[in-house]
């Protein structure tokens, strides 16, 4: 008797397990288990923090816990390749980031993916960039700086967070739009935005473009002077800092972004459910407060708009990588 009960329980369990395992992707009951959100950069970095802020807020709107998984390496390539191998059933998504999703494939033809291989769901936030020089620098305006570069080609140096980072592309975009040669200024790579700021302060470099959040403390303390921002309008906190657009370089509108991205072939129902959940999350006071605290600006883009934005970004940076001769085959 005992035996049969055991057997019956066991067979029921096996049938149930099989049913769960073979259940087709049904958007109706999605999600019925926790969802993994892959962060393709190191734990504790800004993308990771953004993902964790999103994860704890959005689970109320998705209805299942969101587990953040860090897979760093190869400028995001490792984590993204990993997440792209997942079944498009909505249980493994990625925290989208300009570095790993666009810049890395834009300059590495062998990265294993391009934007055509993933499905952008929604942009959640952006971070404007700002061009800074040291407070005691002789360059008071963008024009001063560009004139100096023109007058001494190959002499002035800029610090950035590594070849292929947005800070690196940002300066090259500026040089290009200003009609200067790509080697008019010397590029000095650092490990991360904070160390490249330190390089500027130390005088190893004369100018530096970085995320606004990385520069804000130094701007407030009067250690650096901002020459231009990449936003369309001037920043409320720094009304004296002109935008690139008003200085005559509207093309230098580079900005970083984050969002949610899934693997290619994600069912439309799941994309829509997430897009809606992201919108709801972005209305939450807690989310807004945390995002602002880490220095990002909330900015929503739905699936179509986000996809288009990524395609444009990719095209632009791929062209630049080819121009600069840094495209890795």
């Amino acid at each position: 008797m005992r035996q049969t009960v055991k057997t019956r329980l066991l067979s029921t369990a096996i049938v149930a397990a099989a049913a769960i395992a073979t259940a087709p992707v049904m958007a109706g009951d999605y999600p019925n288990k926790p969802i993994k959100l892959v962060v393709a950069s190191g734990a504790g970095g800004s993308t990771d923090t953004a993902a964790r802020i999103m994860a704890i807020n959005i689970q109320d709107h998705i209805g299942q816990p969101i587990i953040v998984v860090n897979k760093k390496g190869a400028s995001g390539g490792i984590g993204i390749n990993y997440a792209l191998k997942a079944k498009p059933d909505g249980y493994m998504l990625m925290e989208g980031m300009i570095g790993g999703h666009v810049l890395h494939p834009a300059m590495n033809a062998s990265s294993g993916y391009t934007p055509a291989d993933y499905a952008p769901i929604a942009m959640t936030q952006m971070n404007p960039n700002v061009l800074v020089v040291k407070a005691d620098s002789p360059y008071k305006t963008l024009k001063d700086l560009l004139d100096a570069i023109k007058a001494n080609p190959g002499k002035l140096k800029f610090s950035h967070a590594g070849a292929g980072s947005i800070h690196f592309f940002g300066i090259h975009l500026l040089l290009k739009k200003a009609g200067l040669a790509k080697d008019a200024a010397v590029s000095i790579p650092y490990k991360g935005g904070k160390k490249s700021m330190a390089g500027l302060l130390r005088g190893e470099a004369q100018f530096h473009q970085t995320n606004l959040v990385s520069a804000i403390g130094f701007m407030e303390a009067g250690k650096v002077r901002a020459l231009a921002v990449t936003t369309k309008k001037r920043l409320k906190a720094f009304p004296d800092v002109p935008t690139y657009t008003e200085l005559g370089y509207p093309g230098v509108d580079i900005f970083g972004w984050r969002g949610v991205i899934g693997p290619k072939g994600l069912p439309k129902e799941i994309v829509d459910k997430w897009a809606k959940a992201v919108q709801d999350t972005m209305k939450r006071k807690g989310w807004k407060k945390m995002v602002k605290a880490v220095g990002d600006v909330p900015r929503y883009m739905g699936p179509e708009e986000f996809t288009k934005h990524i395609e444009n970004d990719f095209k632009r940076y791929r062209e630049m990588a080819e121009d600069l001769g840094i495209l890795v085959k």
Binding site: A43, G44, K72, A163, I188, K194, G203, G217, V294, I326
Partner: protein, 503 residues
């Protein structure tokens, strides 16, 4: 100097039960993670990070500091007991801690590690607290050229841990430098030596290398030994406690190794592992019994643990004063501060000085908790020594495999770990030491990065390395240290040869 008024204000901030409780919770969690191979301090901090979003800033930072401090120590427990560094910081602790455990002196080794960690933690935090306002800009003095000079000096440590043959030490170091080159070019970002394997683009993880290098050869050698002798007994004994007199007798080591660790801690980007090796090296260089190092020297354990724990306090200085974190874990701490609207950087000291002091005071609280929780863990360690070899080794093997996998979740790491393990075994047969291998692997990328960056800055001129007092000082120290090592090796050879002749 310390502003006492602000210091008392900050004392009020932290003397609340919830802050102290958060700190204790952090210490316990950090200890659990520290003694579990594969769970690194950084993971422990990150897992706890979302919790802190909902806490007040003091409790949040108390929790994270508790984890931070404890995880650095916790790695030493497995390093001593099973030759597996629980965290990368504990690599240097294996060198003498594990031989001590094999000799039935596990208890003394564990106590030494705990007391040295505690002492160095307190000393370095005092240093950080007192000199914070003065050296807030210290890290800025160290450009690429200066960092290069410090690393050149650190590389001379290789000679100290080479054992009997300097040549064999250099062979081991070459392996370390070579393997460290796998991954992305630090300047151009292109892949190199990846052999088409995507996962290699991230380079070899330090824990993969350390576990392969230290744990696997040990299991092979001891396993074969136990199999041959049909003797599956355990070490069985924790050995005697360490006496207070013994502890006190190493005071110069605590001071020297803490000073070395504090210096490296205050420089962004170096982290705990080089500090541990520097601490170990300093202990050996000034020891009265340098020949005991590597065979089971308490002084070696003291040096390594004092070195890595001395990083904690000073690493917070550049993070809070400049917004430049010293290592990955302090970067996460910084993230937590930012979430709470405390933006580390030049403004923090002016806007919230009491908060900065409270962070250092919390470090003291965390260290005191660490002391008591650590004492408890040492008691539990007796289960490991009592375990018979035929059970212990499979368990260690599982921990090593799982731990390697857990760090990044890829099988490539596990395969690499076993490959390194086999290489480590071959080296061991040839009596080529593992420590220079590990040091070269840790310092290699730092060396390359600083050298190439400095040369880009100078436009290819070598003058940059001789243009500041700091870099000249460290390069001179490096030359002296290398010279002294060469001399010592030459003399050691002389005495050995003499011994053979008289025998």
């Amino acid at each position: 100097m310390v502003d006492l008024d602000i210091l008392f204000q900050s004392l009020e901030l932290i003397l609340q039960w919830k802050v102290v409780a958060a700190c204790l919770a952090g210490v316990i969690w950090g200890m659990f993670v520290g003694v579990t191979p594969g769970l690194t301090g950084i993971m422990a901090v990150v897992i706890a990070l979302p919790l802190t979003f909902f806490m007040d800033p003091q409790s949040a930072i108390a929790l994270l500091l508790g984890i931070y401090v404890t995880a650095i120590y916790g790695g030493s427990v497995t390093a001593i007991m099973i030759a597996t560094p629980g965290t990368p910081n504990a690599a240097a602790t294996v060198l003498d801690g594990y031989p001590l455990a094999r000799q039935g002196k596990a208890r003394q080794a564990l106590e030494m590690a705990l007391y040295a960690s505690f002492t160095a933690g307190i000393l370095s935090t005092v240093v950080a607290l007192v000199i914070f306002p003065i050296v807030a800009n210290f890290a800025l003095e160290f450009g690429a050229a200066e960092v290069f000079a410090v690393i050149v000096f650190s590389i001379t440590i290789i000679a100290g841990v080479s054992g009997e043959s300097l040549l064999k030490g250099l062979i081991a170091a070459s392996f370390g430098f070579l393997i460290a080159m796998i991954g992305q070019d630090p300047i151009h970002g292109s892949s190199r030596f990846t052999f088409g394997v995507h996962d290699f683009q991230a380079g070899m993880h330090i824990l993969t290398l350390l576990v392969g290098l230290f744990t696997i050869p040990e299991i092979i050698v001891r396993g074969v030994e136990a199999y041959k002798s049909r003797d599956a007994v355990s070490v069985g004994d924790m050995g005697p406690r360490m006496t207070f007199r013994q502890f006190i007798s190493y005071w110069p080591t605590y001071l020297r190794s803490s000073a070395g660790g504090s210096l490296l801690g205050a420089l962004p980007g170096l982290g705990g592992s080089p500090a541990a090796f520097l601490g170990y090296f300093l202990a050996q260089r000034f020891s009265k019994k340098p020949e005991e190092f590597g065979e089971g020297s308490l002084e070696g354990v003291a040096g390594a643990e004092a070195g890595n724990n001395a990083v904690c306090g000073p690493a917070l200085v550049p993070m809070m004063s400049l917004g430049i974190p010293g290592d990955t874990t302090t970067a996460v701490l910084m993230g937590a501060l930012v979430i709470h609207g405390l933006n580390p950087g030049p403004m923090l000291f002016e806007s919230a000085p009491e908060f900065i002091y409270s962070v250092f005071l919390l470090l003291f609280v965390a260290l005191i908790f660490l002391f008591f929780v650590g004492t408890g863990v040492i008691r539990m360690a007796k289960w490991v020594v009592r375990m018979p070899t035929q059970i212990l080794f499979p368990v260690v093997l599982i921990l090593a495999t799982y731990g390697t996998y857990a760090v990044r979740g890829t099988m490539v790491d596990v395969i690499s770990m076993y490959a390194v393990g086999f290489l480590g075994f071959l080296l061991r047969i040839q009596k080529i030491p593992a420590a220079p291998f590990a040091i070269a692997f840790i310092l290699g990328p730092l060396f390359e990065n600083a050298l190439r960056k400095a040369l880009i800055i100078s436009g290819g001129s070598l003058d940059i390395f001789f243009s500041s007092k700091i870099s000249i000082t460290f390069l001179t120290l490096a030359a002296l240290s290398a010279g002294a090592s060469a001399y010592l090796h030459w003399r050691l050879k002389g005495t050995k040869a003499a011994k053979i002749i008289t025998d």
